[in-house]
Amino acid sequence: MQLTGAEIVIRCLQEENVKFLFGYPGGAVLNIYDEIFKQDKFKHVLVRHEQAAVHAADAYARATGEVGVALVTSGPGATNAVTGIATAYMDSIPMVVLSGQVPTPAIGMDAFQEVDMVGITRPCVKHNFLVRNIDELASTIKKAFYIAASGRPGPVVVDIPKDVTAHVGEFVYPESVQMRSYNPVLKGHSGQIKKALKLLLEAKRPMIYAGGGVVLGDAAEPLTKLVRQLGFPITNTLMGLGGYPATDKQFVGMLGMHGTLEANMAMQECDVLLAVGARFDDRVIGNPAHFFQNPRTIIHIDVDPSSISKRVKVDVPIVGDVKSVLADMLQLLDETEKPHNAEPLKAWWQKIEDWRGKNCLKYATSSDIIKPQYVIEKLWEATKGDAFVTSDVGQHQMWAAQYYKFDKPRRWLNSGGLGTMGVGLPYAMGAQFAFPDAQVACITGEGSIQMNIQELSTCKQFHLPIKVILLNNRYLGMVRQWQEFFYENRYSESYVDALPDFVKLAESYGHVGMRIEKPGDVESALKEAFGPSNKERFVFMDFITDQKENVFPMVPNGKGLSEIILAEDL
């Protein structure tokens, strides 16, 4: 069938069952937009800034597991998309970003709105393509979806010159993709799995540490089964929250810089550590040299070989899809006679309970000033722990991670790797489009929300009933906290002056605005926002919180996990 390039783009997206395309038009993509106008198989979501288009597509992928798709024009449209692409890259999110490019003869001529998109995004994509010829268009898009979703997922950019969208070519959508250069290993090595299980069963102080790979790899179910059968303690990384039910007693909380005492101490003192879909990030294990002061045997399951033995040396590497490896492990466990390690395990749990008994997430409550932690606890209650929760970056993000107990995967959407302020609202949009009837809460700070505040307009256009939970401390709180701890209270440029009246701002877009200033009003306000009267409404909740509250526990940058500081230590 002879089609124009623009028609081919649309047909490819339809073949991939794309339901939402997040984008923003411009000269180089006008042919494509003309074809969008003529079709109704997928919905185009017009954002107000390309960064938000990419974040929303990213969130759609996080929430559903499908590939998120965004479309931007050349030049400034493309550069605006870069932060979104890098954010998705750092968290391994499957995404395809289509960008317009100047016509092929104009490439390299410093044409109007020309940037070398392939060059700019090379370090922050899983792969990228410049389509030079209409004959390569469909097969390139097919490859892009395949690469984005397989192996360790990631964003793929397809840069399409305007003349290619106008040319006419034969449309054939390939059934499958064969690439001699790209064949991710999915099945784990059975010998290694056996070895790993033996080590686990003989462990005296075992620990399981699961990351975002479990969520992305849809492996929460086999992981939960395995952990329950073994009876071991488990921690999740910031990206892994929901990969194991947080309300379960074997869950010892999040680990890392703002992790719990019990999780961090158990990491430090365990004798056998099973890492699943995690990457021993610097915010997670702190100083590696300190981590190695305690000897332990490490088993690491990951789909990406380059994540294994990158920051810490691993004893038993298992390369493979986490879901498949965990399933193999479970089966092997069924067939294996369990040794009696009940005694040491009991003693280990006793130790963990002692740490847990310190109640490291305890905070000083107040009846006249709203504590941010309290808002999150009440949010958890008001949403019955079942909302899609997005956050921005800062203190509020850490409190959300600590106090909202995620029992299900794909419910917690945040920028863990890049730490991008401004993702919160577009992430909520992506999640709400994916699940129109679900409760979606965006936990944010007054700094972060203003980085993509223009999306209030998109939310109006598409009637998205998102609830924004602004923990308004009038500071770039996380920056202020570091300045308090490490810069002798010199709050250099961390006070946020000249804030808008968020209630009026929300109302000006036709949304509901609420300001909550007293702890006594928190619960009722949340009930109202999430209640039936606001089911269809976008509600912006401006919680005026304690200005100087700090996030605890804290493992200072460069320190070891057991050098953790608790609120009570200060």
Binding site: V118, G119, R122, R132, I147, S181, D304, S306
Partner: protein, 163 residues
């Protein structure tokens, strides 16, 4: 430790910059890099000379394998291999230098490939250290210009890197 890494990759626009970009983005050392299409013109073969601890080299190999365009990677230094580099040197060939340069070129089994009134251009191949040795051996003031290709490497015997 110095390592010589060979790789085969899709002969596509931008493939070279992906490899070069990887080395700079991750702050890996790169001593030399050579690349050219193979007899199968859909593939390019690259030889990279790098250095680093065992852990760094392991990461380099893994990261190279992770590049979507890379088909195969082999650390030649893991086994028996041969390394060759080509150098062209333009030297002064006047007065006493004219005889001397011819003699040195012969000793190092070089070839004079261009003869001009005041200069010779000598072609030399060998390991990097042989080329270094030649430059050490001749009078520094005679050197007008040098150009080196960087090392190419191949495994010995049945160590074959092929798709």
């Amino acid at each position: 430790m110095r390592h010589i890494v060979s790789l085969l990759m899709e002969n596509e626009a931008g493939a070279l910059s992906r490899v070069a970009g990887l080395f700079s983005a991750r702050a890996y050392n790169i001593e030399s890099l050579t690349v050219a299409p193979t007899e199968d013109e859909t593939l390019s073969r690259m030889t990279i000379v790098t250095s680093g601890s065992d852990e760094v080299i392991e990461q380099i190999i893994k990261q190279l394998n992770k590049l979507i365009d890379v088909v195969k990677v082999l650390d030649l230094s893991d086994g028996r291999h041969i390394e060759r580099e080509l150098m062209l040197v333009k030297v002064k060939a006047t007065g006493i230098f004219r005889e001397e340069m011819k003699r040195m070129s012969d000793i190092f089994r070089g070839r004079i490939i261009d003869v001009a009134d005041g200069s010779y251009t000598i072609e030399l191949t060998g390991s990097g250290s042989k080329l270094d040795a030649f430059l050490e051996a001749i009078d520094k003031t005679a050197i007008l210009e040098t150009v080196r290709t960087g090392a190419s490497g191949i495994g010995r015997g049945d160590r074959i890197l092929k798709v």
